[in-house]
């Protein structure tokens, strides 16, 4: 469907297929709730509440005063979870957007021009792919130093190859279609063909990969923070909250169960959306 006229129909069809999957809808609702909580609640609550220590109210149980209780420094866990969600979602999305742009650029160039350029770019991507994701991210963080920006850069670099591959593969399949030939015959420039004709048609697999990568990035953020190479305390990050709570987990299991569940639910909801989108965008891939 190269033209905008039929695009609306395509979106509607995708949505009507997406709606049919209960799991995908559950994922979408959960993701929406998480986003709402992560973006709206911080408007009413001060960030200081997530940081400031209050030793008079340590280890409060789950209950009326504090929905999820308080941690070893007397901080309200619910507030910390909400700010943690904001960090995870924002860093996750920013990371994936950055690597998407870089990956799309590399993949589009490789797929569209082909030949030697394709060979060189893809060999480089293969080498990056051969390094385990976490290991690459850890070494970049170690080299650049800790901090949210550096974490973002490290995670973004480690995801570029997967996007480059998906974009290249989609472009290779679209490239040979007749309407691209037609556009080329009309003298349309290469950049314009890529931007106007090829990318919009390769968008399906890219959307799916983007969603799944956001989920994976959120897992990676928490993993790196857990080993002390990501976002460090007192910033309320789920992975570092788990690391902090580890010594007291027998006495206060809710200190690990709540952040752990938050990671699992967020990642799972995003994965459900990704799987649902994949099925809805390309019904042939469905099992």
């Amino acid at each position: 469907m190269p033209k905008g006229a039929s695009k609306r129909g395509q979106v509607q069809m995708t949505w009507s297929r997406y709606r049919k999957s209960k799991l995908a809808m559950l994922g979408l609702v959960t993701v929406s709730v998480l986003f709402f909580a992560a973006l709206a609640i911080p408007l009413f609550k001060d960030y200081e509440m997530a940081i400031e220590q209050d030793f008079s109210s340590r280890y409060q149980p789950i209950g009326a005063g504090h929905i999820f209780g308080t941690d070893q420094f007397g901080r309200d866990i619910f507030i910390r979870m909400v700010f943690g969600a904001r960090i995870s979602l924002l860093v996750g999305i920013a990371t994936v957007s950055a690597s998407l742009v870089a990956g799309a650029f590399i993949g589009a160039a490789a797929g569209y021009y082909g030949g030697r350029l394709d060979e060189i770019l893809m060999r480089i991507m293969d080498v990056f792919l051969a390094i385990p994701n976490t290991l690459l991210a850890i070494s970049i963080v170690a080299a650049l130093g800790q901090g949210i920006t550096n974490l973002l850069i490290a995670l973004a670099i480690s995801q570029v190859p997967s996007f480059a591959r998906v974009v290249r593969a989609s472009i290779l399949t679209v490239k040979e279609q007749d309407y691209i030939e037609a556009a080329r015959a009309l003298g349309t420039s290469n950049a314009r063909i890529i931007a106007r004709h090829i990318l919009p048609n390769a968008i399906g697999p890219i959307i799916v990969q983007t969603t799944l990568n956001v989920a994976r990035t959120i897992l990676n953020i928490s993993s790196l923070s857990f080993v002390g190479l990501g976002i460090s305390p007192p910033t309320p990050e789920w992975g570092s909250m788990l690391a902090d709570a580890k010594p007291q987990m027998l006495q206060y299991p809710h200190l690990i169960l709540i952040p752990g569940a938050a990671i699992a639910i967020t990642v799972m909801a995003i994965n459900l959306v990704g799987d649902g989108l994949r099925d809805a965008l390309d019904p042939r891939l469905r099992n």
Binding site: R123, I131, I138, L272, D275, N287
Partner: protein, 321 residues
């Protein structure tokens, strides 16, 4: 076949060069002077300068990389900046621990995932299938270190069946392996299920059914073998990755394996240790992948004849096809 293996081993060299170059650049082109790190804050400028000279840090970046690779080529990975012990010795003393955990973990995962994936595919849309799909989804969404913590909490701290941290007896390896298994298992289940679903719809399955074979027989004699190929790949890749250090899980269980070694080395800018372990991990992963490809030939005769052609036509053609 032997020529094929030889060619594949040669093809690993550029990949390892690429990986080592990337890591070497990351470790070297950033702030922080290893000489100062070794000697500590109190060292004199002269001592630091002497150390820099000794370590060859005053050479140009590319010269240093070339020298390093030349030494690696003859099996010398250098000495650790922190402990001054040969990096290869340190790696080899830690590798068995990581190997046991990774191997047991992958074994548990495979033994559990393949039957579950097959049942789930054969009984598609049944309650078992739906439960399996949801559980697999949940497992992929849980960070491995969190699973590890849950296992420690329940089996070590509450039930006191297994030790919580460290290594020693076989009991120490159970919980870490289960954590590795939980991370990889979901992937294996999904892979087994989806390839099995694909294989069940093949024409030759219908042919076998038309012969009068029962569904059970068809699954065992016709489908399993054909659906194994992609599963073997995923298992192989995951095993290779885990051998490179089950980083987060070793951190949770305080296990002195390759993963903890690597993390400490990275944190302290111990370049020879980082480089050595990364190259080692890449070689191990490459060998595992090769072993998987050889295993293919025994599962699928088409692949075997492809390999035989591969050596004749040379590398470039085979890569294209």
């Amino acid at each position: 076949m032997i020529r094929y293996i030889g060619q594949r081993l040669l093809m690993m060299i550029p990949v390892i060069l690429g990986i080592s170059f990337i890591i070497f650049s990351i470790m070297n082109l950033t702030k922080g002077d290893p000489a100062r790190l070794i000697l500590g804050e109190g060292a004199t400028l002269e001592a630091i300068e002497a150390k820099r000279e000794e370590l060859g840090l005053n050479d140009a970046f590319i010269v240093r990389y070339a020298k390093y690779i030349a030494r690696v080529a003859i099996g010398d990975f250098g000495r650790s900046y922190r402990t001054d012990a040969p990096v290869s010795e340190e790696i080899f003393s830690r590798f068995p621990t990581t190997f046991y955990i990774a191997f047991l973990g992958i074994l548990f995962a495979t033994l559990f995932a393949v039957p579950v994936g097959v049942i789930s595919a054969v009984k598609q849309y049944s309650a078992i299938d739906i439960i399996t799909t949801v559980v697999a989804m949940l497992l992929t969404s849980m960070p491995g270190f969190f699973v590890g913590m849950l296992l420690i909490l329940s089996f070590a701290l509450m039930l006191r069946i297994f030790p919580a941290t460290g290594i020693g007896t076989w009991r120490h390896f159970i919980l870490p392996s289960l954590s590795v298994a939980s991370v990889t298992m979901a992937n294996f289940i999904r892979m087994t299920r989806s390839t099995m679903l694909e294989v069940i719809r093949q024409d030759y399955v219908r042919t076998a059914r038309a012969k009068g074979a029962s569904m059970r027989r068809v699954i065992f004699t016709h489908c399993l073998r054909n659906s194994l190929l992609p599963v073997v790949t995923v298992v192989g890749i995951n095993f290779g990755v885990q051998l490179g250090g089950t980083i987060m899980i070793e951190a949770v269980f305080a296990i002195p394996g390759l993963g903890t070694y690597m993390i400490n080395a990275i944190r302290q800018k111990d370049i020879p240790a980082v480089m050595g372990s990364v190259i080692f991990a890449a070689i191990v992963a490459g060998i595992i992948n090769l072993a998987v490809d050889i295993l293919y030939a025994y599962i699928d005769p088409r692949v075997k004849s492809h390999y035989e052609r591969f050596t004749k036509r040379g590398r470039r053609n085979a890569q294209r096809s």
